[in-house]
């Protein structure tokens, strides 16, 4: 039996306005979702062209969850997005050409070729780069929240993890510390129902991951992760609660991972019917329909947005392809930080 609150879909345009989104914002959200999917689709092509070394991961099906939450963050908030959360990077303002450069191991990628795929972040945008060991970044986000609490700043940290990573001890430790100290952190579970090939019933024995929240002393909420407006509303609520001193929330966004774990994986183990069912609630198509039905998004507006995204990505690809490969003679640089490296917006 569920313990977490199961969030309702957004009922009306009025409710959306109440939550702080005007027409311009809504079209912006749609644009960010299109860029998110576009970056990953183009990445796929680059991979097939042999231009991306190693493997390639996407978050297809998670665009509403990632963009919805990032839209609810304030500029001064921080977060640790994962490999299904490209929408967070896009919404926070990472330029797509840098993401393509990162994919291709180029010198202009955020990690200058030192790490691959979505293992990147721009600290100037309040983001912290993930590692492969999930959910290792969850206690890190809790630490950011601890800093805000010590300094009594009205800022919130967003801590992403997957339902697969919910099995690891870092999740328990991070939530324990955050719960006992009532820290301003929102835990976001990207529940895409498959931890590589492992289904949810072999990952956790409760109905929802968010059911655990009560045991840590805070609220758990489950939301349809394909509904960007519902995700936004719940994220906004949780973030503002944390900002006001109300402590953490565990927000679980339920989606389906619409592709394999990575590009090499054909996801044969996911039932075909499951894919078909979730394809009916494709986050982009769903929001597009909502925009047409509720705010009368016109054909012209839609063309302008999709045309703009296409141009943005074309230019981005070209710029990334022109970026040089990293210079191996720099390999030893920066294993250790120097005092000047602390001259960042955050370290001050």
């Amino acid at each position: 039996m569920a313990i977490a609150r199961e969030a309702e879909p957004v009922g009306s345009l009025h409710e959306v306005r109440e939550a702080g989104l005007d027409r311009e914002d809504l079209l912006g959200v749609y644009r960010n979702m299109l860029i998110t999917r576009g970056v990953e689709e183009r990445g796929h092509i680059l991979y097939r062209q042999g231009k991306i070394p190693g493997s390639f991961y996407t978050g297809r099906g998670n665009e509403a969850a990632s963009v919805g939450i990032a839209t609810a963050m304030a500029q001064e908030d921080v977060g640790t997005p994962l490999h299904r959360d490209m929408g967070v990077h896009i919404t926070r303002g990472v330029e797509p050409w840098k993401i393509f450069a990162q994919y291709m191991g180029k010198a202009d990628g955020p990690t200058r070729g030192r790490d691959g795929n979505v293992h990147m972040a721009d600290p100037n945008l309040g983001l912290i780069a993930m590692v492969s060991h999930l959910p290792a970044m969850l206690p890190v986000a809790v630490g950011a929240a601890l800093a805000f609490r010590i300094r009594e700043e009205a800022r919130v940290a967003l801590a992403w993890f997957g339902e697969g990573a919910s099995a690891r001890g870092d999740t328990h430790e991070g939530m324990t510390l955050a719960g006992t100290r009532k820290l301003p952190v929102v835990f976001v579970c990207d529940n895409n129902q498959w931890a590589y090939s492992t289904p949810t019933h072999l990952e956790y024995a409760t109905e929802h991951v968010a059911d655990r929240a009560e045991a840590y002393g805070f609220e758990g909420v489950v939301v349809d992760g394909t509904d960007v407006l519902a995700v936004y509303r719940e994220a906004k609520r949780a973030i503002e609660k944390a900002r006001a001193g109300g402590g953490p929330t565990l927000l679980e966004c339920l989606t389906l991972r619409m592709e394999g774990h990575a590009v090499h994986d054909d996801a044969f183990y996911v039932p075909k019917l499951m894919f078909e069912k979730w394809a009916e609630s494709d986050p982009l198509e769903r929001f597009r329909t909502w925009l047409r039905d509720n705010i009368d998004m016109t054909d012209d507006e839609e063309d302008e947005i999709s045309g703009g995204v296409k141009r943005l990505l074309n230019d981005a690809l070209k710029r990334a392809e022109d970026s040089p490969m990293p210079d191996p003679s720099d390999l030893l640089d920066g294993v250790y930080a120097s005092p000047e490296d602390l001259d960042t917006p955050h370290h001050k």
């Binding site: 921080v78 990690t111 600290p123 290792a136 890190v140 630490g143 324990t176 250790y336 490296d341």
Partner: protein
């Protein structure tokens, strides 16, 4: 200058930095109300409050991960592992996140992890270890192992100032046993600079931590034999003062490397290999290692005595080298 114990010198450094820099905070198990398992932070919570001397749940990964996150937001966290042994519970965080973040993502992680380490009082396999070599192997981490009260204070302040994750190994057997003159003012001692503990001309002992004193006792016995022993206290094993080691090796031409950690893969192996690579022509004898055997740290006193290098073991090693 005041005479302080090694433990008091560590407390003094922490208090100095907490008073001076609002970004510094302590977090760990029982560090607040209780003052820490060894009472290093006794009275701190009264002075600095519960949000700067933070009692954490028994969760090493959360403690270390939180330090990393807070450091990225501009704080200068100092974590206490109740015993160095428990750092194994936080290994993943330190090695996977903290050590690599600057190199791969450009984000420095200025944290200090204090590690009460070492044996000599029947702490058994889980309260006696010296895990510095495991961490010295990880690019991105620094490892500091002071032997004297003066170094403990100056190096801890340097560690807090340092923009990297620094593991600060405090030898428990020195806490209340060793006293020394410690300047009252704030000062730093550079990380990566060795200290000549004893000047000699016939044999060099390269060591750190509590073994500095074992080496000193052994050197006094060798003096009676007419053999002059130099002792180089590395102070920090990562980075380590290669130049000072090579200089001493070239001066005496005979080297004994001494540490309390297990022999195989201990940091002494790295030192011996470096001397072999870079000062082979200057040597009059093979580099000798005296270290703990390759077992866990035993509990019962006669077993522990057999495990931890004793003065007699060092004396025997030095005599072998002298006779070579």
């Amino acid at each position: 200058m005041a005479e302080l114990t090694y433990l008091q010198a560590i407390s003094d450094a922490l208090r100095t930095e907490l008073r001076r820099d609002k970004r510094v905070f302590l977090i760990g198990e029982d560090v607040g109300v209780y003052g820490g398992a060894f009472k290093v932070s006794l009275g701190f919570q009264e002075e600095f409050g519960p949000w700067r001397v933070i009692d954490a749940p028994l969760a090493e990964t959360a403690i270390l991960g939180a330090c990393t996150g807070a450091s990225m937001m501009g704080m200068r966290p100092v974590a206490e592992m109740q015993f160095a042994d428990f750092i194994s519970c936080g290994w993943d965080h330190l090695v996977t996140v903290a050590a690599k973040q600057r190199w791969r993502a450009g984000t420095p992680v200025p944290i200090v992890v204090r590690l009460p380490s070492g044996g000599g009082f029947s702490g058994g396999p889980f309260h006696s270890q010296n895990p510095e070599s495991s961490f010295a192997h990880i690019p991105g981490l620094k490892c500091v192992c002071p032997a004297t009260p003066e170094d403990a204070k100056g190096l801890l302040i340097s560690a807090i100032e340092d923009p990297n994750p620094v593991l600060f190994f405090e030898h428990k057997h020195l806490y209340r046993r060793i006293k020394g003159e410690v300047p009252e003012d704030r000062y730093t001692i550079p990380i990566g600079k060795a200290r000549t503990h004893r000047i000699g001309k016939d044999i060099s002992v390269i060591t750190w931590g509590a073994m500095v004193y074992t080496a000193d006792d052994a050197a006094q016995q060798l003096e009676a034999d007419g053999v002059s022993v130099e002792i180089l206290d590395l102070r920090t094993v990562m980075p380590w003062d290669k130049a000072a080691v090579l200089q001493s090796a070239r001066k005496t031409s005979k080297v004994l490397v001494l540490h309390e950690d297990n022999r195989t893969g201990g940091f002494g192996a790295e030192i011996a290999a470096t001397i072999a690579e870079e000062a082979f022509e200057d040597l009059d004898a093979p580099v000798k290692r005296v270290a703990a055997p390759d077992t866990p740290v035993p509990f019962s006193p006669p077993l522990e005595k057999a495990f931890i290098p004793q003065v007699d073991d060092v004396v025997a090693g030095l005599r072998d080298l002298a006779a070579y």
